[in-house]
């Protein structure tokens, strides 16, 4: 069977779907080929057990690109939020918790000085983030061959830094932007739990501890997209976001096929001509877009021999170390968290007692061990969104650190031991949790790689560090979405601006394809 399209998108993650929607809207004949039996990639809602569903990976929507949401009119395609701008509650073992909104800190005996410092810290961070956020939506600057738009972007960045922030804030920004968040927090705060929680946000999803350089930047990254980092909870779980984008793509005319695993991209005479599916079907198109991470794209889906050696080496060297695991628990009933009402349990709960503990937890990863005292972000989305659990509740935790390369491998024994450690950790705050557990599942970075194709189990398709951002993401020759192979593009989180359920990479890739951008 041979079919012809203008564009084939390999992988129906949210970015692939966004890319398809924009291309179809521009009149291109597009097909999305998803290997799994549902679209969404890592932005999916899966059945945990009878009548209970969870967002498999990402659980809070904090970075969805505003123009994507508007352009694709996701609300009209069924996207609804079960909760908006949920605060973060930093758990304290004694039940006296710290509540953080985007502007205020309260509880846990926080001093007036620290509370004021938090408000100021957040104001500065938001100002920095809003200085940078336009970089997140535009394609990165081509520094070797800048066009007019590139030059304007550079001028705009300079202008925003100098005159947007002003001399004093700009100087502070330049001082802090390359720093580790640990030192910045020590500069500004005394409150241990506050420092622990902010440190957690600086390292979430990264192979870094709070003392690792660049963790102020990763913190800013969370704020620089979406609605200043406000955390929303989509109704129906993260899969609902993908479903809405998928519906938008379909209504724009894109074909979407699931259970259609692409075996390889077909290349003839140094040009892309289509793909071959594992089923043996061949689909032809002059343009193929990969939603997979850059390494998987280059090393497996296309194959290194279709690229020149320096580029292959560069892609092979992209750091993609996953250190985050996911714990899903089906609950018979809500456990009692000390000092928290049922209402408060619908917020984002963070276990990260101090920034020192966070750093100690990271130490293990360097030696291929799991953290002795794992840190985590907990959500019980079924409180705000009962559609996720017919009876009882579901709890999902994003846990750090669990290395991809575990000493001795991720045996069942190792998995169970780490899952137990995670549950014990929660039990310190919710002593009766074990009684409420109907079943629990742990997804290690290895599982995440197997299920969602991200090499190394890295959520961002490439670690978010300064040397892997902007025009360096994933490599200078591919930062504008076109790979150095005629007709081949990338549209996933491995391209600028990176990971998180954002959709900007998909949108930028579509625009690059429509412009005929070449590497």
């Amino acid at each position: 069977m041979t079919k012809n399209y203008d564009v084939i998108i390999v992988g129906g993650g949210h970015n692939g779907l966004v890319c398809a929607a924009y291309l179809a809207d521009a009149g291109k004949k597009v097909v999305v080929l998803e290997a799994n039996d549902q679209v969404g990639g890592a932005a999916v809602t899966d059945t945990l057990t009878d009548g209970k569903k969870v967002s498999s990976c990402a659980q809070f929507l904090n970075q969805l690109n505003g123009s994507v949401e508007k352009d694709l009119n996701l609300a009209s395609h069924g996207l609804k939020m079960a909760a908006n701008n949920v605060p973060t509650i930093a758990l304290n073992a004694d039940g006296n918790h710290l509540t953080l909104t985007s502007t205020t800190a309260s509880g846990a005996n926080i001093s007036a000085d620290d509370a004021a410092a938090y408000t100021k810290f957040m104001r500065y961070m938001r100002d920095y983030a809003s200085t940078l956020n336009f970089l997140m939506v535009s394609p990165p600057i081509d520094i070797f061959n800048p066009d007019f738009a590139d030059k304007m972007t550079a001028i705009k960045l300079g202008w925003k830094l100098r005159f947007g922030l002003g001399a004093e804030k700009m100087s502070e920004f330049l001082r802090q932007v390359g720093m580790n968040i640990f030192d910045v927090l020590d500069d500004d705060f005394d409150h241990e739990l506050l420092k622990g929680t902010l440190a957690f946000d600086g390292v979430l999803g990264t192979h870094a501890g709070p003392r690792s350089p660049g963790t102020v930047l990763t913190y800013l990254y969370r704020l620089a997209s979406g609605d200043e980092g406000a955390l929303d909870v989509p109704e129906g779980g993260m899969g609902a976001v993908s479903d809405a984008i998928s519906a938008a793509a379909t209504s724009a005319g894109a074909d979407i096929k699931v259970s259609a695993r692409v075996k390889n991209v077909n290349v003839e005479n140094c040009k892309v001509v289509g793909v071959t599916l594992e089923s043996g079907d061949v689909i032809s198109a002059p343009v193929v877009v990969s939603n997979a991470d850059p390494r998987t794209t280059v090393m497996s889906i296309v194959g290194p021999r279709h690229f020149e050696a320096d580029f292959v080496k560069r892609i092979d060297n992209v750091r993609m170390r996953g250190t985050t695991a996911k714990l899903h628990i089906a609950l018979k009933a809500l456990p009692n968290f000390k000092g928290l009402s049922e209402d408060e349990l619908s917020n984002r709960l963070v276990i990260a007692p101090t920034h020192k503990d966070m750093e100690r937890a990271f130490n293990h990863v360097k030696y291929k061990e799991v953290s002795e005292h794992p840190m985590m972000e907990i959500a019980i989305p079924s409180i705000a969104d009962p559609s996720l659990a017919a009876d009882g509740h579901v709890l999902s935790a994003t846990v750090q650190y669990a290395p991809y390369h575990l000493k001795g491998g991720w045996t069942d024994e190792a998995k169970n031991a780490f899952m137990d450690a995670c549950i014990d950790r929660i039990a310190a705050y919710a002593p009766d949790i074990r009684e409420q557990i109907e079943m629990a599942v742990l997804l290690t970075p290895v599982d995440l790689e197997a299920s969602y194709g991200m090499a190394g189990g890295n959520w961002h398709h490439g670690e978010l560090t300064l040397d892997q951002m902007l025009m360096l993401r994933p490599a200078p020759e591919a930062s504008r979405y076109a790979l150095p192979l005629d007709g081949m593009y990338i549209c996933g989180a491995g391209a600028h601006p990176g990971g998180g359920v954002m959709g900007a990479a998909g949108k930028n890739a579509a625009e690059a394809i429509l412009k005929g951008e070449a590497s």
């Binding site: 003839e268 005479n269 140094c270 090393m299 194959g303 290194p304 021999r305 279709h306 690229f307 020149e308 050696a309 320096d310 580029f311 292959v312 080496k313 092979d316 020759e477 150095p484 192979l485 590497s519």
Partner: protein, 401 residues
């Protein structure tokens, strides 16, 4: 693949080749230099005599320090075809090819010779070390590669009577070998490889043996060549011969791209006058292809020129001008009085679009007369062919001298 590195390798600052003792027997002037890790002679006796051995009898030059690699595996052809801009499907078993290889920016990393010794095995011989280049090129290819620099002793045997001497030495049907053929011959201690190749622009062969065969092959050749005034030579004589033959040298005509720090200081194959080695449409994503396609479209920056310069003062290190006292358009990399061609040869680069064959280019030549610096202007003519390119270089069978 395991790479065994001797732990005390660093203590051995200078290595000697398996031909060292044999060369020492001829050494009258004690002028040696370091070529990679090895010590090799600049001259053993007299440069002029050694040079004329290349052109008039037979010369033997130790090329053991050349970087040598073995590439083997089911993907060997695909690997070489991606590494090298030539169409490697055209290089059959038993053939040698001159080649360059580039980085992704289309800048030349090195030049050398590639030997197809078997369907699935190549040898690559280069000026500079290439292990890291091979390593990155092997990602995704089913090949094994190994450095055999220290395991293979090699000599370049060049001159009009070399075929005759090899015949006397018992290498049967050596005269039927065409330019760039390679063959294996029996020799005590195991097969040796002989290729009809060289770096002198003359009739000549290169012999590739195991280290423990080195002295035996040396003695065997000298026995067979007793009557032919054959002699070992140093690098200085070879340098004159290669300039006379218009051949490039890494680190002289071009800075190897992977060692070049300043952006824009490396050179492309087209800029080196080696466009004929680049097969853009061979249908393989070889290194540098995309950049070289762009260069073809947008034009090159420089042109490699061979100049026939007036007078007999070598234009070494000279700037090149479009007229006497005119505009500076380039520079000379290598220059020598060519003793056999009897011309004053300069190899250099000029900015495009200068330097077409037949163009006049002026050189500002500085030279010393008993330590006193002098300057003169010399007119040069861009020539198409090397100063020395005799029919005997390629004639098969070579004349029975």
């Amino acid at each position: 693949m395991t790479e065994v590195i001797k732990k005390d390798h660093f203590k051995e600052g200078v290595k000697t080749t398996p031909f060292y003792a044999k060369q020492k027997e001829w050494d009258k002037v004690n002028t040696w230099h370091r070529w990679k890790e090895y010590t090799v002679p600049d001259v053993l006796d007299n440069v002029t005599v050694e040079y004329f051995a290349i052109r008039n009898s037979a010369s033997i030059f130790d090329i053991t320090p050349m970087s040598k690699y073995r590439i083997k595996g089911v993907d060997a052809l695909n690997f070489m075809n991606r590494l090298l801009p030539r169409d490697m499907t055209k290089l059959k078993v038993g053939r040698v090819g001159y080649t360059i290889w580039c980085d992704d920016e289309g800048m030349v990393i090195d030049d050398g010779t590639v030997f197809r010794v078997a369907e699935d095995e190549y040898w690559l011989c280069a000026q500079e070390r290439q292990m890291e280049i091979l390593r990155r090129n092997a990602i995704g290819f089913d090949v094994e590669f190994a450095e055999i620099t220290d395991d293979v002793a090699a000599i370049s045997f060049q001159g009009p009577v070399t075929c005759k001497i090899l015949k006397n030495a018992g290498f049967k049907e050596i005269e039927t070998m065409k330019m760039f053929d390679l063959r294996f011959f029996d020799f005590p201690g195991g097969e040796i490889m002989i290729s009809r190749s060289g770096y002198t622009g003359d009739l000549g062969y290169e012999l590739w043996v195991k280290n423990d065969q080195a002295e035996a092959i040396w003695d065997h050749l000298f026995d067979a060549g007793k009557l032919y005034a054959m002699r070992p030579i140093g690098g200085q004589a070879l340098e004159i011969a290669r300039i006379e033959a218009g051949l490039l040298a890494a680190d002289v005509e071009f800075s190897p791209a992977n060692q070049t720090v300043r952006h824009g200081h490396a050179k492309s194959p087209y800029e080196l006058g080696l466009g004929w080695l680049v097969k853009l449409d061979k249908g393989v994503a070889f290194n540098g292809r995309r950049a070289l396609m762009k260069e073809r479209e947008n034009g090159s920056r420089y042109r490699f020129v061979k100049l026939d310069v007036e007078g007999n003062k070598p234009a070494s290190n000279a700037y090149l001008f479009d007229s006497e006292n005119g505009k500076n358009i380039g520079y000379v990399c290598s220059a020598a009085w060519a003793p056999t061609a009897k011309t004053n040869v300069a190899l250099g680069f000029v900015d495009m679009p200068h330097g077409e064959v037949g163009d006049e280019i002026w050189a500002e030549i500085y030279y010393q007369k008993e330590l006193k610096w002098k300057k003169r202007w010399a007119k040069g003519m861009v020539v198409k062919d090397p100063a020395w390119n005799p029919p005997r270089k390629t004639k098969t069978p070579p004349d029975d001298v």
